[in-house]
Symmetry: C2
Amino acid sequence: MHILGFDIGGTKSIVGVADETGTVLAKKRIETRGHLGPAQALTRLKAAAHEVVCESGAKVDAIGIGCGGPLDRRSGIIHVVPNLPGWQGICLTHEFGNEFDVPAYLENDANAAAMGEHFFGAGKGVDDFVFLIVGTGIGGGIIANGKIYRGYGENAGEIGHHKIRPEGPPCPCGDRGCLESLASGTSIARIARDRLASKPKTVLWDWIASPGEVTAEMVARAARKGDEFASRVWFECMENLGIGVANVVNIFNPRLVIIGGGVTKAGDMLFEPVRKVVRERAMPELAKDVEIVPAANGELMGLMGAFAVALTETSTL
Amino acid sequence: MHILGFDIGGTKSIVGVADETGTVLAKKRIETRGHLGPAQALTRLKAAAHEVVCESGAKVDAIGIGCGGPLDRRSGIIHVVPNLPGWQGICLTHEFGNEFDVPAYLENDANAAAMGEHFFGAGKGVDDFVFLIVGTGIGGGIIANGKIYRGYGENAGEIGHHKIRPEGPPCPCGDRGCLESLASGTSIARIARDRLASKPKTVLWDWIASPGEVTAEMVARAARKGDEFASRVWFECMENLGIGVANVVNIFNPRLVIIGGGVTKAGDMLFEPVRKVVRERAMPELAKDVEIVPAANGELMGLMGAFAVALTETSTL
């Protein structure tokens, strides 16, 4: 069995071919140029797909597609995706399924990535876990009894938008004080930027010309060097991330909380404070059950997820 | 098919017999006197059970038992239950199953009550909902795809112990700022009591001799009369309850959030502000899916739950 997988993002996409064990036979990363509209991007995605299929030498049996939501998994249609303007109404399963004449399956990127970890990554063999993507935003995927927990309208898992400081900062979702507004990469950078306005002493000034240039990665790097300003920002954000994870533990009693996404490149700088907060603040009998671990699929999180989605769907036919 | 059900609490218990439609043929409420230890209480519970079975005229096919946790559902044994001192290690399924020579099933009270609403109450025909019991504490039961969502260690659903104000008041779980510490009946009374220390003008003084006598029910009653002090306390607590429910909506995308427990006797005084907060603060595409409704089983919440547990377990044999 061979799967063609698409991980479609607004800026970059990854297309690849894998077998049913998740061994990647060929893959290619392309610029999506999603903002130029779907026609051009779809042509480029299809061309890249033919290339990787050819390179893999495999006959493709099914297609998995992961894409930012909201989307309608069943019809294969994407709705208003912020970083894919003009794409609403495009039926991705039809576009790619027809091109290769095999069944195609669509899933939102966070759920797909969670299934990718379940099939091929840190969640292998574990039926109850929660996956958090801490990057630009904070996304979530819930695996319950080995399946994606979707909820009534298939939009469950917005863990990034549970409020832990109800009078906290504004959040892209329109509310305030959501976990995402306090601990995403964007939020870490925003908090640092706002506080740089008062001209504190910090090594960050060596790397930036103006507060607007600061990134979460820089804050982590400066904090690791022991910079006081950066440490305060970073560990405040990690404290909030830990509170969010403690809430997930008390609500779901998971075996694992897997955390992926760009901010986890900080490694122990992220995992150690988060684990400490969970140990101190989650209910003891639930905290003892859980391990908090990094995602295993790294940069290929979305692609491995796309493979897992196609494998799940074809195996339940 | 006839079920004998036990709803066991530290102070009072209800024993009853129902058929598979949930029609109660006989029931009896007794004082548990749990603090006197299990031997006497079990004798009283068994005597009451024989009484209701006799009154119902039915031959009992199975037994369902709901009890405060933590407990081990599979072995039927209860652990250290705060209001049943000295009961740890008692195998309730063995005690009652042997007495009537039929299979017996144990479940924690919040999960049982959620299943009771699913079988016989507000959650009939709805496969994805969250049930909250707002009483002395705040308990939760999650129904996913028509089944109790248990999590890895079977302790999922501690929604009362997700933190929404991390620096908030101490909570019985040992942490601070949990939903329970801000919106349970006990918390409403505690907040009122603490603020009464500064001798505000309020109608509550007509009903109490000292601040320690105030109850959540009095706060609701005074708020309904327009009392300014009581209104401030009550609606602050309802705002927090609403934030907790909005979090549940964003995390689970449920069709229903069913709220039961003593505090819901306040009716619209509880449901209106909670619905308003959810409308304003949950993600719009999730808020539109959900209805927030009172539990239907009322005082019999635990008993109906015990019946539902036995019916679920016997139907999956």
